[in-house]
C-alpha cells in the first residue's frame, strides 16, 4: 500500500514527492496510507475539524464509513516533527483530494462549501473544483445536513 501511494504520486507531474530522497518519499507515503481512512468507500467526506464536536468531519467520516483524512496520534506528531505542519497540504492533503477526484466518488462536506473562505478546507474545495467538482446541493444523512459535491459529467 505504501508503494502504491508512492508510485501513484511520483507519476503525477509536479508531485512534491519526486523532490524527496527515496527514504523520505516512502516515509511520507506511509503517513498518507495511515491518514486515508476507508479508502474503498463509495463516498468521501471533507470538512471542518471541530475538536470534541459530534459533527466534526472525521467523526462523521468514521460514523458513516466514508473515505476521509485523519492521521491519528502519535503519527500526526511524528509527521509534524519530521516534515512540519506546512508539509501536510502538499504531501498528504492535496494528493488525497486528487486521489478522491480521480476515483470520481461523491464528496460530502460538513459545512456549506460556498461559505468557506480560508484554510486547508478552502484549498481542498478549490482543488476539487479545479478537478471538475461542483456543489449539487445538500443531503441529510442520518439526521446530519451535508453538502454534496460531484464530478461534472
Amino acid at each position: 500500500m505504501i508503494v502504491e501511494f508512492y508510485l501513484e504520486q511520483t507519476a503525477r507531474p509536479g508531485s512534491p514527492l519526486t523532490n524527496l530522497p527515496l527514504a523520505d518519499a516512502l516515509k511520507v507515503s506511509s503517513f498518507a496510507e495511515k491518514a486515508i481512512q476507508n479508502p474503498q468507500a463509495p463516498a468521501a467526506i471533507i470538512g471542518k475539524y471541530w475538536k470534541g464536536l459530534p459533527n466534526s468531519y472525521e467523526r462523521l467520516g468514521a460514523d458513516f464509513g466514508f473515505t476521509h483524512l485523519n492521521l491519528p496520534e502519535p503519527s500526526w506528531t511524528e509527521f509534524k516533527l519530521d516534515y512540519g505542519e506546512a508539509s501536510w497540504w502538499p504531501y498528504i492533503n492535496e494528493p488525497f483530494a486528487w486521489r478522491v477526484a480521480m476515483s470520481q466518488k461523491p464528496v460530502y462536506v460538513n459545512v456549506n462549501p460556498a461559505k468557506v473562505s480560508s484554510g486547508n478546507l478552502y484549498a481542498e474545495i478549490q482543488a476539487l473544483r479545479q478537478l471538475g467538482y461542483t456543489v449539487t446541493g445538500k443531503e441529510i444523512i442520518n439526521g446530519i445536513e451535508l453538502w454534496k459535491m460531484v464530478p461534472s459529467p
Binding site: W50, G52, V111, S117, T136, G137, E145
Partner: protein, 157 residues
C-alpha cells in the same frame, strides 16, 4: 477514540470558551450549553457555534428555529457589514493565538453582530444567495432551499 481522550478534548474546548468567549455570557446574556453542543452559546434569538480546529477557530451564527444549513460564518457577515474581513494566515500561528485574534474581532463587532442580528440576518443570506447563484462551481438548483427560504421571508419576489 477513548472516553478519556474525548473528555480531555471537551475540557480543552470549555477552557477556550470560558477564557475568550465568556463575554457572550457575562455581557450579552447568552446561556452556555457546554463544549459538546454544536451551538454552545445560545439566546432566545440566535445560536452561536464556536469550534476549534488544529489551527483555526470557527464562529458561525444561526437564527433560532432555522435549519443548520443556514448558519453563517463570522467572516462572511463582517465582509457584508464592512466590505472586508481581516483574514490572517492562521497556519503561521498557534491555535490559541488565532483564538485570541478571532475573539478580539468578535468582541469588536459584538454589538452589531448580536444587537443588530435581525437587521443583517436576512440581507446576509440574500447576499450569499446572489453570490452562489452566479458561481460556475454550483450546479443549477443546488441552493434552491435558500431561494425558498428567502422567498418565504419576502427577500425575493
Amino acid at each position: 477514540m477513548t472516553d478519556e481522550f474525548k473528555k480531555k478534548e471537551q475540557e480543552e474546548v470549555e477552557t477556550l470558551h470560558r477564557k475568550y468567549f465568556w463575554f457572550l455570557v457575562e455581557e450579552y446574556g447568552f446561556t452556555y450549553e457546554g463544549p459538546g453542543s454544536q451551538f454552545p452559546f445560545q439566546n432566545p434569538k440566535m445560536l452561536i457555534l464556536v469550534g476549534f480546529g488544529h489551527k483555526t477557530p470557527s464562529i458561525y451564527f444561526l437564527r433560532r428555529g432555522d435549519p443548520s444549513s443556514l448558519m453563517m460564518p463570522i467572516e462572511l457577515i463582517i465582509e457584508f457589514l464592512d466590505g472586508h474581513f481581516p483574514y490572517r494566515d492562521t497556519l503561521k500561528y498557534e491555535l490559541e493565538e488565532n483564538v485570541v485574534y478571532y475573539a478580539d474581532i468578535f468582541r469588536r463587532y459584538a454589538d452589531r453582530l448580536i444587537n443588530d442580528f435581525e437587521k443583517w440576518w436576512l440581507p446576509v443570506q440574500l447576499a450569499h444567495y446572489k453570490r452562489v447563484e452566479k458561481s460556475p462551481f454550483v450546479a443549477p438548483g443546488a441552493y434552491s432551499y435558500l431561494y425558498e427560504y428567502l422567498k418565504q421571508h419576502g427577500m425575493i419576489e
